[in-house]
Amino acid sequence: MLTVTLKLVTIVAERVLQERLLRELKELGARGYTLTEVSGEGSRGVRASEWEGHNVKIETIVSPEVADRIIEHIAEHYFQYYAVIVYAQPVEVVRGDKYV
């Protein structure tokens, strides 16, 4: 099976940001995403996640360039005031052209 290596970018964010983040991911070049309802705790304490439901985890498989763009965008626009984390991992996929 011919596989290519792309990036899986994962964002965990407070629920209230869901729609905005999905819109921005699309603008930054993501071709799809998978969303999970999660809860969690981090450096800001549990506080931010008690109303509006809890957190969302958004996973998107993208090219390395798009991954960089997404991480930079999140870091710049969300890290200061929102409960958000983002991380990236390499993944092997088939049909690589589907994601870029």
């Binding site: 407070e14 309802e37 506080r47 931010a48």
Partner: protein
Amino acid sequence: MLEILLTNLLSPIVLAFALGIIAQLIRSDLSFPEPLYQALSIYLLLAIGLKGGAELSHTPWAVVIWPALVTLALGMLTPITSYVVLRKIGRMDRINAAAIAAHYGSVSAVTFIAAQAFGQLQGNPAEGFMPALVAMLEVPAIVVALMIAFTRSNHHGSWREGLHEVLAGRSVVLLVGGLVIGYLSGMEGLKQVEPFFVNGFKGALTLFLLEMGLVAARRLRDLKKVGAFLVGFGIVMPILHGSLAVVLGHWAGLSVGGSAVLGAMVASASYIAAPAAVRISLPEANPTFYLTASLGITFPFNLTLGIPLYFALAQWIGG
């Protein structure tokens, strides 16, 4: 007065709230799955809308107009008084003051429901169209408070997204939508759904308040973080706003029950519509402040002591 208080404290809904708090304190694993919480919210908001709308459909406009205007005026006044008090006496920064002001100007639907239920029990039912006033009270204060914040400082959030969040937010859509459905289908339509939306209401509310107790108890841990001023603010401000509303409600022609419920509404602090809008528009504001104040202090205060107080006052003035 003491008797009124006891009737309230021993009602199933207040006791359910207390049970929630206790369960959290003894670290019970009791918790409501999120979908149940959402289902109950949807049900309660739609139900009060439906009932209010059906009542509105056979109420002459002349009866509603003055209470409505008073409500609107209070919706614009109370965020300003809150802001001024927070800034001048509490020495809070602009953003946090505006954020808290948005909450105290807006309204808590559950406090409204509890007040209405208490009125019925007391033999002092409020006017049937009160839910329409809840809908009117929900939005303006948030808009006013965001305007204060946005004209007075640079900001990181989005004004337009915040406005959309509050206008198209779940609670407004369900409440206003319920009102319109109730209004259009009238008492005839309401009768069809009565066993579900009317008869089951108080039981569902009891269940909801159990969950509210669990949530509020989590907030109580933060009391120390918010400081003595905000604790005082969360008790005194409702009393002031609530008393003013009782007086104005009486003056606008509302019954004893109606004025008291209006008092409870105005005294209450939002914890559904306002937090969402504020989080989007004023992300720099610290949620610990506004959530702890509205959910950890003002809500329990109104539920236990405030509501009987507004009723006693309304009876004293109008009875």
